[in-house]
Symmetry: C2
Subunit: 335 residues, 2 copies
């Protein structure tokens, strides 16, 4: 007679295999009645756990995979630090994969982590990702998935995001309050929700103060290479912008350099505001005003949410969505 | 009768199990005679490959693990970029672990990567690591190991390093040639070979030009937090240093800020030189002179060496040691 498997027990009792597995291990997330029912059925049918399969499953118990688009920017480095500290506290190991803003690498990263038999994945999508089957595959493999920062709206799963809209709205409103009237937005690819939300915050602040929204002042400019091309173009407009609201601190730091190199003063002629609040804010001259995204906190919250899902402690059946608040830190690069 | 295993064949023929395994797969790294001998013996004894074990081994074929101490600094980010591009070209997947400069995390990272059954590991040791058994364990598990940048002198394996000594010597000699006579060295923990080599380069340049080596001008100062304490102390010496040679660009960027905040001019009164040549060099004011470490190239070379070992293409029996040359990039922060 073929030995009975976990799946057979699940089918016979109308439960999911993971419930049966947890019931066999006396996991407190499963009701005492269910545990007793499962264990009685297993004993009656002489269920023997497959030790090799168990070993494979054991490997999965305490390793979490993390997919990040890049690590050159301070923001993702601090998110990883938060993830790592939280994982360590709860005794989980971490494996990281870098997508390098590339869709193909992101797909490969998912496969590599599933092959490594992680028990959960934290992911922030790449700029170039427009198709999401690989994320669905994680869920279909019964591996927990939590998105952070760059979420993917097409996939039904938990997420932790920054209040990009409010962060941008408040920063732009602050620039307006200091007298700026022609504020440029150096943004990112519009299909990233973070970029779209910040653009909407920027535009709504202008609207609220009855300032025109001008297309030529709103461009994708999220890398140093783009900054070197687009900022001089904007500064040669007539009249030039009197403020730049930038998608990250690197672009803002270059914006200060480029603006000063054209003979304009920062902040007298042109205000510059970044987003991240990285250590770059302290080494630019003048020091950079920036929106603090609290990356470390985001990492902690995302890791905690994932671990609670893995351990059955987060029992909310629908999607859990956590919001990290931003804070404008005013320094010397704005009037 | 118990089925014959790879190990049995290896023992019977006086070969290593990995040679037998490669001979069975017709790997060209194994001589034709050996392949024929192994295959004949296997056929005669009705050797059947264990498919589950094979599958486990297959998982190992194309994933490389990488252990880095931190990623907040530009240097390691660029090394990872080089590793990733090279791995991608050769069709290998990557799993990263962060030790966060912590010995315990480094040990855990080794275990996590071995559990994930990687076929090779690239590692740069943490600042706090003084015991090396975990690295020896990698080798004992027959997993290839290549150190990069922060090598561990107690372990006999391939390595890729920067010519830290020459990089420091040339930078300090350049500072002397511009008229600096009281050059401070902001270094790192002395048991890291990179820090030790740079200190020796610094001291030898002073010796060559008959300048005194002063203990109070040579301190461990490799983080922003230390910079905020130690740089003001050094500037309050009588007389203060007329140049700082810094272990990384972050410390150098803060050094510029702190020096200027005391009323001294950079570079008129005090020259500042960094190490890495990161994008920070372009956003400080004045722009930062720095030693280019070619991190991307180091990543490529290390990944190539490891992959060649894995594929049996690097056949040199002893230790392979590759040196990446540095280059001083002079900007505005030095006289």
């Amino acid at each position: 007679m073929k030995p009975i498997t976990l799946k057979d027990i699940a089918k016979a009792l109308g439960l999911s295999p993971s419930t049966v597995s947890r019931a066999m291990k006396d996991n407190p997330a499963i009701s005492v009645q269910t545990r007793e029912r499962v264990q009685a059925y297993a004993a009656e049918h002489k269920y023997k756990p497959n030790t090799l399969a168990m070993q494979l499953r054991t490997n999965r118990v305490n390793t979490i995979g993390v997919i990040v688009p890049e690590i050159v920017h301070y923001f993702f480095s601090t998110v990883l630090a938060g993830i790592q500290d939280e994982a360590e506290k709860k005794n989980y190991n971490l494996l990281f994969c870098l997508s390098n803003e590339d869709y193909e690498r992101e797909v490969k990263s998912v496969e590599t982590l599933l092959d490594a038999r992680v028990c959960g994945i934290l992911a922030s999508q790449s700029k170039s990702t427009r198709s999401f089957d690989h994320f669905q595959e994680i869920i279909d493999n019964k591996v927990h998935l939590v998105f952070f920062d760059r979420i993917c709206t097409g996939i039904n799963t938990d997420k932790v995001v920054v209040d990009d809209y409010a962060g941008a709205f408040n920063a732009v409103e602050y620039l307006i309050s200091t007298g700026c009237r022609r504020i440029a937005f150096l943004g990112a690819t519009p299909w990233l929700p973070i970029a779209n939300n910040r653009r909407m915050g920027y535009e709504d602040a202008l609207r609220k103060h009855r300032l025109p929204i001008e297309k030529e002042l709103n461009q994708v400019c999220d890398t140093v290479d783009l900054a070197k091309v687009i900022i001089p173009q904007m500064l040669s407009l007539d009249p030039p912008p009197d403020a730049f609201f930038c998608i990250n601190d690197e672009v803002a730091a270059y914006c200060i350099q480029i603006t000063k190199s054209t003979g304009l003063d920062v902040p007298e002629d042109v205000s510059v505001c970044g987003f991240t609040n990285s250590y770059l804010t302290e080494v630019t001259y003048p020091k950079l005003t920036s929106v603090d995204q609290h990356g470390y906190r985001m990492g902690e919250v995302a890791a905690r949410l994932l671990i609670n899902r893995i351990e059955g402690k987060e029992t909310k059946p629908g999607i859990v969505s956590r919001l990290i608040k931003t804070k404008l830190v005013v320094r010397e690069s704005t009037k």
